[in-house]
Amino acid sequence: MAMPPNFPTASEPPPPPPPPGQGLRALIWGILLVGAFMLISLPTVILVFFGLLPTIVAWIVDRSDKKYAMFCVFGMNFSGLFPFLMDIWFKEHSTDAAMRILTDVFDLMVIYTAAGFGWMLYIALPPVITTFLTVMSERRVTVLKENQKTIIEEWGEGVINVVETLDKDSMNNPPRI
């Protein structure tokens, strides 16, 4: 016998605040990491920093926990940037080459258009997915109702009483929070 699912009766608790000093620690680690990368490959760091500016903007703009917008923009932004990173890594590994790319409008347009495509993806895909899921749910409800109708035809209205009894029971004995 299926039991009624326990619907959440109160909003989920907010995530615990980060412990004090953790932000500073992350910042120090970030500076050290960037410093290390700058020592290893300054052109890459320059290209990445300026090439991924839309991603940084998206990171700032996206106030959600999961930062889906940032990931969307990042994915496409990185796809647009990667060919130029390949040029730096495999053709001419110099700051001049990096600057040349960054000052080339066409190259920048490629990089930022790709980022823009990522943003478009972020805007366009969720409604499509939502619509798809709604259609799927409605289809499922139709199937379930058909099943219920068949059950009632075969077994009579008495089967409904079971649900009513369960409802009454759950009303009388609400799940503990």
Binding site: F78, S79, P126, T130, V159
Partner: protein, 704 residues
């Protein structure tokens, strides 16, 4: 014809079987007009392929007060003269007496050849008939009154008294009292008027047809139905009074009303009241005094009677003095010297009786006049107890009157609201009350308020059968306390009257008094009864419960269920159980009838396909006429289990689907936001995955 007025007053509550004349207007058998009755056109009624009863040949001279006589022909012996008594339908008959005397030559008794239930065309229904040898000499009383038979005091003991004593003796060996000994029921068996026999006593309840003159004081105070089973002592009293009338050739107290005669009997004793002014032979005085002794313990028995007839001297009679006062108790202009007469008066004047009962003068009269302090204390206790139980049935005026009357005359019958019966005659009285008036409220009140136990508690002497009677009352009270089918008033009716035919309207005309005949009767009824009516009612259920020896409580319990479906299954199970246990052959009509009523029972199955299967199967089983198979189809345990399990699974599936639907539909904005989050998540994943693919492809291309 002096006997006619005596008998005119009895048996007038229940109409005779064929004419159904208004009570009291039916002429006496001896006074019937001689014109032949109109021919019915119906053929003879055949009993056991041997006796042909001719409805067109009534024998009015042999009628009894509750049964009409018709000519009978014995096809195996055409020379044999016989007659049949057609009983009044609905009046309990005495099958115990019939069984005891059927086919047995008993000295002094009219031989009963056969008894049977037949469809009597003049009544348009079945009824009990008794086939007797025809007494060719007619009634002794008719012969004496008509001057055709004369005998002197010397011949009387040998020719009249001895055969009748033998008749009582014969019947006493069967332990069944005759209870219908009266002058008009004494016959000459032969045309030469040499052999005297005692006539029928089985066509009505014990004492039902007896005029008050011939009944002992206590039993004559009741209605015809409440006279009680009685005993040998009552038969001997009946015989004593009968002998007085036969000896004299007339009724010596014909000019005295019954009520006055009863008062005389109570104040002077029966012997003095009946024989006081009559010129009886001195030789007969001793046995008559012995037979009419009002004290049962002192009354002559068969030993004394046979001894006297054979010339032996009998011990002198002990006369118990009648309890009476030297000075009267005055009430409503009447002077009462005996508590018995006062009790009788109060029971018949209930509207003012309480004034006498609560009168201190009565207590004083009982103590000083009657000299019986116990009765005085009994009256005081009755009034005081009632005062304490003011709101109980035992505190009502009617209860107080009934109990006070018992205290004043403990031997008298139980009298309540005008309903009087001897405690050993309650079932018959109940049946007569119900069949005559259609309402047994007062007898049932008697049971409910517990008057019989009060009567037994007031008896000063223990008598045979008292404990059995008391336990019977306990059982009846138990049955009455339950109102379910199979119990209640109807159960009391059939438990108390083992030979009463089932009074259910469905089969009343079939005269079913044995359980074996019930199902065939219902089968026959199926053709004429509206098939929407159930073949079960309270009378049928009670009749089955009383007559069927198997335990049917589970069936009755189901029958009593408030739910229609359960009650229908209970009905079918009970009928099927009867057919199975009694090995009754195919019942096509009843099966069809029951099959048409099974809709609610079939609907107890949850599964539609199972219901369809059952509905398809019913006609086949109806054609077999088998109720057990029908029941097995409707209430098969395996099928029930399977249906219940299937229903449980279906309900579970339905509930799961319901909660899933609610989960999908009821989420609303939550579902929308979930979908949006999913969309965003999908977009992020797509984006990252695409970037990985692009990066990988570019990297590989660069390398190779």
């Amino acid at each position: 014809m002096a006997e006619a007025p005596i008998e005119a007053e009895v048996g007038n509550d229940i109409p005779p079987p064929d004419v159904m004349a208004p009570p009291g207007l039916a002429p006496e058998p001896e006074m019937q007009p001689t014109a032949p009755p109109p021919r019915t056109g119906a053929g003879p009624v055949i009993v056991r392929d041997r006796y042909f009863i001719n409805p067109d040949a009534p024998l009015v001279q042999l009628d009894s007060p509750s049964a009409k006589a018709y000519s009978v022909e014995d096809r195996r012996d055409l020379s044999r003269k016989m007659f049949a008594l057609i009983c009044t339908p609905g009046l309990p008959t005495r099958v115990d007496l019939m069984s005891a005397i059927r086919g047995v030559e008993m000295e002094g008794l009219l031989p009963l050849a056969e008894w049977e239930i037949v469809d009597w065309p003049l009544l348009g229904q079945k009824t009990m008939i008794l086939i007797y040898e025809r007494p060719l000499g007619g009634r002794v009383m008719d012969a004496i009154e008509g001057g055709a038979y004369k005998l002197n005091e010397y011949e009387f003991p040998r020719r009249i008294m001895a055969p009748l004593v033998m008749a009582v003796k014969s019947i006493s060996t069967e332990d069944v009292p005759h209870r219908a000994i009266r002058p008009s029921n004494v016959f000459f068996m032969d045309e030469a008027m040499q052999t005297v026999v005692l006539g029928d006593g089985a066509t009505s309840p014990p004492g039902f047809d007896q005029p008050m003159l011939f009944e002992p004081i206590d039993r004559s105070m009741t209605g015809p139905g409440g006279r009680g089973k009685g005993s040998l002592a009552d038969d001997i009293y009946n015989l004593g009074a009968t002998l007085v009338v036969l000896m004299l050739g007339y009724n010596p107290v014909a000019r005295i009303s019954d009520e006055d005669l009863l008062t005389l009997k109570m104040e002077q004793g029966s012997y003095a009241a009946i024989c006081g002014s009559a010129r009886l032979p001195i030789a007969l005085l001793e046995p008559l005094r012995g037979m009419l002794n009002d004290t049962v313990g002192e009354r002559w028995g068969l030993e004394e009677l046979t001894g006297w007839l054979s010339g032996k001297k009998q011990p002198s009679l002990k006369q118990i003095p009648i309890v009476r006062s030297d000075f009267p108790f005055q009430f409503e202009g009447n002077n009462f010297y005996s508590p018995r007469t006062l009790s009788r008066y109060l029971s018949r004047h209930r509207e003012t009786a309480l004034q006498a009962i609560t009168n201190d003068a009565l207590i004083g009269w009982l103590r000083k006049g009657v000299g019986d302090a116990n009765r005085a204390d009994g009256i005081i206790a009755t009034v005081e107890t009632a005062a304490l139980q003011k709101n109980e049935p035992q505190g009502t005026d009617e209860f107080v009157i009934a109990k006070a009357c018992m205290v004043l005359d403990p031997q008298a019958p139980i009298r309540y609201k005008g309903f009087a019966f001897m405690p050993d005659g309650f079932p018959e009285a109940l049946a007569v009350e119900f069949l005559h008036r259609g309402d047994a409220t007062i007898p049932l009140e008697v049971l409910k308020i517990g008057l019989p136990p009060v009567w037994y508690s007031l008896q000063r002497a223990v008598f045979i059968g008292a404990s059995v009677q008391q336990s019977d009352y306990i059982k009846l009270t138990g049955y009455l306390s339950l109102n379910d089918p199979g119990f209640g008033f109807e159960r009391c009716l059939y438990e108390g009257n083992p030979t009463l035919a089932c009074q259910s309207e469905l089969i009343a005309k079939e005269y079913v008094y044995e359980i074996d005949d019930l199902l065939p009767a219902l089968d026959a009824a199926s053709n004429r009864v509206d098939n929407k009516t159930k073949p079960m009612d309270r009378h049928l259920a009670a009749f089955i419960a009383a007559r069927f020896e198997e335990d049917i409580h589970p069936h009755l319990k189901a029958l009593a269920a408030p739910v229609e479906e359960t009650a229908t299954i209970g009905m079918l199970s009970l009928l099927a159980f009867l057919q199975w246990k009694l090995r009754v052959s195919a019942l096509f009509g009843l099966s069809s009838w029951v099959g048409g009523l099974l809709g609610p029972a079939i609907n107890t199955y949850h599964s539609r396909s199972t219901r369809h299967e059952i509905e398809k199967e019913i006609p086949r089983l109806v054609r077999k006429g088998s109720l057990p198979e029908l029941f097995d189809l409707i209430d098969n345990a395996e099928k029930r289990r399977s249906d219940a399990a299937g229903f449980e699974a279906a309900a579970s599936e339905f509930a799961t689907a319901e909660y899933e639907i609610r989960d999908i539909e009821g989420a609303g904005s939550e579902r929308q936001s979930k979908a949006e989050i999913t969309g965003k998540q999908t977009a992020a994943v797509v984006s990252v995955v695409l970037s990985m693919i692009i990066a990988s492809v570019l990297f590989i291309v660069e390398l190779f």
